[in-house]
Symmetry: C2
DNA sequence: TCTTGCGGTTCATTATTTGAACCTTTATTT
DNA sequence: AAATAAAGGTTCAAATAATGAACCGCAAGA
């Protein structure tokens, strides 16, 4: 891998941590030599992507991405366009709703609207959503061209819970259902006790760019309710796409 | 410079452009060989920091920074804490207000609240604010330790307009005034026809982390009004710091 | 049809990255 | 308070990755 790739992966490691981390630990997590990790961190810090706590000497994500994100959202206001729909859906179904976007080969959560209920599903910002084990991932995959689906299915599938579907053939079946129905349902495949429904956000070309998902505690749902939630999610996803792409023409 | 530094500088070039750019052009702007630029772009794209338009083959800023920015702001909600104060100040003085943060060796605008008036100053997101030629820069510099001020004054000072102050001694004087008064005033030093007042956002340690600035057309202001605006800016900056740092203790 | 300019690629040369070992500082244990 | 451990940070010869002049193929324009 190129130096740049390694440095950006290091940045990913730091970003997915949620708290400050020391040099030795981050080097180990990113599978880099300590000296190498240090050099990378210094470079990243120079550009503001990482910052070091003056007191603890630990490293954390810097402020540079905030500036870049502002610029990006000025031209592609995906989150700000979607936010009201996410909120409306969360209010309507009373569960946690999250929006993800495909970037850098991964599907990542970029916005969350928490359920108002006390017992709710917590979704972390930043953690990548595995394609085979989340409703969002399935919704995204299902609307990809067949060859890209096959390529994705060839990659090893990690097990996240007792219920994770890791057989390519089984995933293929889920994808077929999803494509037919318009939204996906994932039952505790990522985390036990959580059931989700998700629909893709589709560009005018038909290519998926992200997914909208509702995550609910299993205790509060049954098949019928999930199908209803799925329908609503699908409608909201379509509205987001229409608003986002419609306004640009 | 390290490969990483060069790649991040390339990203900077792309971010400050505001529109898509071709390979040859971006290579020239970033002072890189075309082959090198391409390799960097491919790496950056793999991680989502850059994306290539499928149709035009041109490159633009990707969506990865949006994800990172969300994570950063979860822990350090600088913009969201400051936004209401920025808005309030903009409403109060009726001019464009912008908030900047020091990152990666530069002061960059991360939030803007436009004036409601038809004739208003336009502030671009992302363009770095030169320390010697903007009110924000002066406000930031003025509250730095003496040795850091001197280091900053040793760097060459670019001229941006006929009124830009480029003499170290003259800048030193402006900084003294700023430190004494608590806010800076910059008269057309960056752009003709624009006068600004800015106050630093100070961390509890007394170290500046950014600046809050009001930019107004010269046609609409006089010395008295700017002093009044400066006072209000200073008060708003102090409120932001208090809210931001106060809530974390 | 010919030319120009662009995106993209190649491969021998060159310069940078790498990491084991080392030093330094800080925190913990004895 | 001395000893120990553990972390941050640095060095320099060896290893590896980055570099760029020249190249290809394609599309737009003359």
């Amino acid at each position: 891998m190129s130096t740049i790739g390694k440095a950006l992966s290091l940045l990913d490691v730091i970003s997915q941590l949620g708290k400050d981390i020391g040099l030795t630990d981050v080097a180990r997590l990113a599978a880099l030599d300590k000296a190498t990790a240090r050099r990378f961190l210094v470079e990243l810090e120079k550009h503001g992507f990482v910052e070091q706590d003056e007191e603890t000497r630990k490293y954390r994500l810097g402020a540079a991405p905030v500036r870049l994100a502002r610029i990006r959202q000025e031209r592609f206001p995906f989150v700000s366009v979607a936010a009201p729909f996410v909120k409306a859906l969360a209010d309507e179904v009373g569960e946690t709703v999250h929006l993800s976007e495909f970037t850098g080969g991964r599907l990542s959560t970029i916005h969350v609207e928490d359920s108002s209920q006390a017992h709710r599903v917590i979704v972390d910002l930043g953690t990548p959503l595995p394609f085979h084990a989340t409703a969002s991932g399935l919704a995204y995959l299902a609307f990809l061209p067949a060859d890209e689906i096959e390529r994705a299915l060839k990659r090893p599938m990690e097990r996240f819970s007792a219920e994770t579907v890791t057989e390519p053939e089984a995933v293929r079946l889920l994808l077929k259902e999803t494509a037919k129905r318009g939204f996906s349902i994932n039952q505790q495949g990522f985390e036990m006790g959580v059931i989700s429904a998700a629909a893709p956000i589709l560009a005018p070309s038909g290519k998926p760019v992200g997914a909208l998902a509702v995550a609910a505690p299993t205790a509060r749902t049954n098949k019928t309710r999930m199908l209803d939630i799925g329908q609503k999610t699908m409608a909201a996803a379509a509205s987001i796409a229409q608003k986002y792409y419609g306004a640009k023409a």
